[in-house]
Structures are given as structure tokens and as C-alpha cells.
């Protein structure tokens, strides 16, 4: 597992990418700062809907993870180097899991820090709220990573499909069709955030924290298993 993990880290690591991710991670923190210090303090609801749900959960997390986890396998397929890994006498899960862990290793610190600082500024140091937001953000990173990793194996147009999912499915359709939220990672993570800190988010919470966590674990595992199955059955270029 080690060599695949290190190889993937090296493949995904690049100076430009790190710079862009740092900029992206800093953005919501700055916005939270500006929002709170410009005189008219917004309500929790506004802060939450614009910054946390709109920017962080709605755009930054899924896009950053798409660029990283989506690329983890898709780049190898495009470059035709995936065979180097599959022609090894190791079980397929020992290829999928390290790739996933490497993607999460790169994306998670930025997202976690961003979520932590943003909620720290926004909720003025309320420890439980900050923990809820950060945990939910990390859960979102894990869920999106597993989903996009699988997508990268499924099709060479992983990015197009991923973008369509993020912008159209989670962004637009979910506003009009309530049922879509059941199949939306964004709404799962937001539900998790609500469930973890009910005092603050009680009005919005519909799901208990145990149920939310269990759902997250199930979805994560399902995508990992799908990715392993796909790797076993696909034609490797």
C-alpha cells in the first residue's frame, strides 16, 4: 500500500496546485472576517447559508476534491500508466484505498483549516459549533473523495460529469426537487453539521447525529467498494 500512496502523493503534488488551494482555503475565512466586521453583523442563518453552505460546502469543497480525487485515477488512465499498478500481485483494494487516502491527505488539511478558521471567526469561538463545522467539512471531503475517485475510474469525462453533478444536481435541481437531497453529498454533510450541534442548528436539524454519521459511513464504503469492483472489471488501457 505504501508505494501506491507515496506515488499518488507525488503525482498530485504540485506547487501551483498548493498555491491555488491555499488561496481557496483562505477565501471563506476572509469573507467571514469581512462579514462580521463591517458593521451590520449578519444572522447565523445568513452566515450559514452564504458562507458555509453556499461557498464552502457548495463550491470549495466539492471542486477542490474533484480536482484532486477525480484526478487520482483519471490522470493515470489518461496517461496510460494505470497498468503499472494493476499488473502487480496485490489485491485491488490495495490500489484503491491508498489512492483514496492520498487524495484525502492532500485535500483535508486545507479544507479542515479553512472550515475551522471560518467557523471560528463566524461563530466567535463557540467550540462546539466550530467542531461541528470542521467535522462535517472533513466528512464531506471523505465522501466527495470516494465518489470522485470512483468517477475517475468510470469515465474519461469524470470532470464533466462531476461538474454537472455539483452545479446542476446539487446546485440547481435540489432547490426545486426536495427528493434530490437524499442523493446529494452536500446535503448529507450539511445535515451532519446540523446534527452535531443541535443547539445552534436545531431549527434546521431533521436527522439525529448517529443516523447522519451512519449514513456517511455507508455512502463512503459504498463508493470505495464500487471503485474496487470497477478496477477489477474494467479494461485497463
Amino acid at each position: 500500500m505504501g508505494p501506491v500512496y507515496v506515488l499518488t502523493l507525488r503525482q498530485l503534488f504540485s506547487r501551483w496546485r498548493l498555491l491555488i488551494m491555499t488561496a481557496l482555503a483562505a477565501f471563506p475565512v476572509l469573507i467571514a472576517f469581512v462579514m462580521l466586521h463591517d458593521g451590520t453583523a449578519p444572522s447565523v442563518g445568513e452566515f450559514e447559508s452564504v458562507v458555509l453552505e453556499g461557498m464552502l460546502a457548495g463550491a470549495i469543497i466539492p471542486l477542490v476534491v474533484l480536482a484532486i480525487a477525480g484526478a487520482a485515477f483519471a490522470n493515470e488512465v489518461e496517461d496510460r500508466t494505470l497498468a503499472n499498478l494493476t499488473l502487480s500481485p496485490i489485491p485491488r483494494w490495495q490500489i484503491v484505498v491508498p489512492k483514496l487516502l492520498a487524495s484525502i491527505t492532500i485535500a483535508a488539511p486545507f479544507i479542515a483549516l479553512s472550515a475551522f478558521l471560518t467557523s471560528h471567526v463566524g461563530f466567535v469561538g463557540d467550540a462546539r459549533a466550530v467542531a461541528a463545522v470542521t467535522a462535517a467539512a472533513l466528512a464531506a471531503v471523505a465522501l466527495y473523495s470516494s465518489a470522485f475517485l470512483w468517477l475517475g475510474l468510470l469515465t474519461t469525462h469524470a470532470v464533466a460529469v462531476g461538474l454537472g453533478y455539483i452545479v446542476l444536481w446539487e446546485g440547481i435541481f435540489s432547490r426545486f426537487v426536495g427528493g434530490v437531497r437524499l442523493f446529494s453529498i452536500r446535503h448529507h454533510s450539511i445535515a451532519l453539521m446540523h446534527a452535531l450541534d443541535e443547539r445552534r442548528f436545531a431549527a434546521a436539524s431533521h436527522v439525529g447525529s448517529t443516523a447522519a454519521i451512519v449514513a456517511a459511513v455507508v455512502v463512503f464504503s459504498a463508493f470505495v467498494l464500487l471503485a474496487i469492483r470497477r478496477l477489477r472489471r474494467m479494461d485497463v488501457p
Binding site: I31, D38, A59, V64, N75, V159, G164, V167
Partner: protein, 308 residues
């Protein structure tokens, strides 16, 4: 005598025969120049954008987006037909259409435009283009024009559907058209405004990376991330400051020009209570032009210095 027969009928005589040399022949025809090469790159750009001449999967993505845009327009047109002119105010008008659907148009460009530039540089095919009577700038202008043409057509199509719906829904279509004919040049111009802007930004981003995936994600990220906060902030700070902030929303830049063309604030912007008249109109237009011409210059320079 036999010759006479041959001349009359034109058929070759049986005792005459010719052997044709079907081996490799050099090309003796006219050799066309730079303009023709530009045109070839342009046509290829159009075909690539629409997925023509490639597999079914390549067609799915661009036509899906075009289909979504057209389908929504179709629904609105049918509602117009069903409910008549009284309902027109409630429906999405020509002025509102582009602002409402900027997201879809942006995602379309983000996914399709990088195909035009990234692939050739990644596979090093760009050099095959450059050894022809074609400079780097020719190549990029041809590609730009190709995507601009495709995007313009894609955004005009739903407007024409809307026009059809509105005019047919009116009890006297001819009267409707006579009263509202100005809408046509307006939405055509506005469509070009959107198409030019989006094409420019999409291709500029694509020129910075060889992997299409990164260009696409970066573009969508650019739009998706600036949108929520700039709107919220702009609504907060009123007046000129608020309007300036809203102008940093990349999706809003062409929308402001759209509003100028139609002479009214579109429904979406109005709903969000963003200040729109605090700054003189020439500022809006100049800002738009800046966001088109400066990236255009950068794109031009990046490709100009490529050599075979």
C-alpha cells in the same frame, strides 16, 4: 473509319488501351495559403466543440447543455402559449434569459472549451499545426472564433424559441412582433456579449494548463466561489461601493451589459437588491471590455510565442 465512330460516340475503341499509374502521385493542384489554414482550424474547432465526427459520448456533453437550455426555453414558450400575454410579465423574458442561465452557460464553456486548446498542447499536436502556414496567433484566433460561434448559436437558439413562443401566444402575433421587434437585435447583441466574454475566459484558463480537467474545475470554481459572497456583500453595502463589489462577481459582468442593452434591470439582479445605477453606464461597458480585451491580449501573447 473506326476513328470517326469513336469521335461520334466518345467511347474508347477496343484496340486502344491506357495503363494508369496509380502509384504515389505528387499533388499538383493549387496550394492555398494562410487563410485557408485558418478556416480549416476554425471548422475543426466547431466540430470539436459540438462533438461531431467523434464518438457518441463526445456529442452527449455539448448537446446535453444545448438541449437543457433549449428545453427550458421550450417550457417557457409553451407556458406563454397556454396563458397568453397577461402572463408574459411573470415568465422569463428575453432580458432575463441570459442572467438566469449564466450558470449553465458557464459550465458548458468550462467543460467544452478546454477541449479546443488543452488536447493539442498535451499531445504535442500543436506543432503539427504550426509547421503549416499558420502562426500561433492564427491558431488561437481560429479556435476562439470557433467556440464563440458555437456558443453564440447555443445561446441564441433558446431566445428564438422564446420569441416564437411569445409571438404565437399573443392573439395577434404580427402585432406582437411589430411592437417588440427591438427585442431581436437586443438579444442577438446580448448573446454575443455573453459569448465573447465567456469564450475569452474559458480559453484563457485552458491556455494555462494541458489537462482539460483542471481548466474546467478552475473555471467553475472561479464563478461558483465568487458568486455567493459578492452578491451578499453588494446587497449590504449600497451605492457605488456595492455596485463595484458586484462587478467583481464574474458572472455579473456581462449581465450588467445585458441590462444596459435592454434598458432595464433584469429580474434576477433586481431580486437580489444589488445596486445597479450608482455608476455611470460607460463604467460598466468599460469594465466589460477590460475583462474581454485584457484576457484576450494575454491569450494572444501566450500563443504568439509558440513556434514549431
Amino acid at each position: 473509319m473506326t476513328t470517326a465512330v469513336t469521335e461520334r460516340t466518345g467511347a474508347p475503341a477496343a484496340h486502344r488501351g491506357t495503363v494508369f499509374d496509380i502509384g504515389y502521385q505528387r499533388y499538383d493542384g493549387t496550394r492555398e495559403g494562410r487563410g485557408r489554414a485558418w478556416l480549416a482550424v476554425f471548422k475543426n474547432g466547431v466540430r470539436t466543440s459540438l462533438g461531431l465526427g467523434r464518438g457518441a459520448w463526445a456529442k452527449t456533453i455539448p448537446w446535453f447543455f444545448i438541449g437543457v437550455l433549449a428545453a427550458i426555453a421550450l417550457v417557457i414558450a409553451m407556458l406563454a402559449g397556454r396563458f397568453g400575454p397577461e402572463a408574459y410579465d411573470e415568465l422569463v423574458s428575453h432580458a432575463d434569459y441570459y442572467p438566469f442561465f449564466t450558470t449553465i452557460i458557464f459550465v458548458f464553456a468550462a467543460v467544452v472549451a478546454p477541449e479546443l486548446l488543452c488536447r493539442d498542447r498535451r499531445e504535442n499536436v500543436i506543432h503539427l499545426y504550426l509547421v503549416r502556414p499558420l502562426t500561433g496567433s492564427d491558431y488561437v484566433t481560429a479556435r476562439w472564433t470557433a467556440f464563440f460561434a458555437v456558443l453564440s448559436a447555443a445561446v441564441w437558439l433558446p431566445q428564438f424559441i422564446l420569441l416564437f413562443g411569445f409571438s404565437m401566444g399573443h392573439p395577434e402575433p404580427v402585432t406582437y412582433l411589430r411592437e417588440n421587434w427591438l427585442d431581436i437585435p437586443r438579444f442577438l447583441l446580448s448573446g454575443l456579449v455573453f459569448a465573447a466574454y465567456i469564450t475569452m475566459l474559458a480559453l484563457l484558463t485552458a491556455s494555462f494548463t494541458t489537462r482539460r480537467a483542471y481548466a474546467s474545475v478552475f473555471l467553475v470554481g472561479l464563478f461558483a466561489i465568487t458568486t455567493p459572497f459578492t452578491f451578499a456583500l453588494a446587497a449590504e453595502l449600497e451605492g457605488a461601493a456595492g455596485q463595484w463589489v458586484s462587478m467583481f462577481n464574474l458572472t455579473q459582468i456581462p449581465v450588467n451589459v445585458n441590462d444596459l442593452i435592454f434598458g432595464e434591470v433584469n429580474a434576477m439582479t433586481a431580486e437580489m437588491e444589488i445596486p445597479t445605477d450608482a455608476l455611470p453606464s460607460w463604467v460598466t461597458v468599460a469594465w466589460y471590455l477590460g475583462w474581454v480585451l485584457v484576457p484576450g491580449g494575454v491569450l494572444w501573447l501566450r500563443y504568439r510565442r509558440l513556434s514549431p
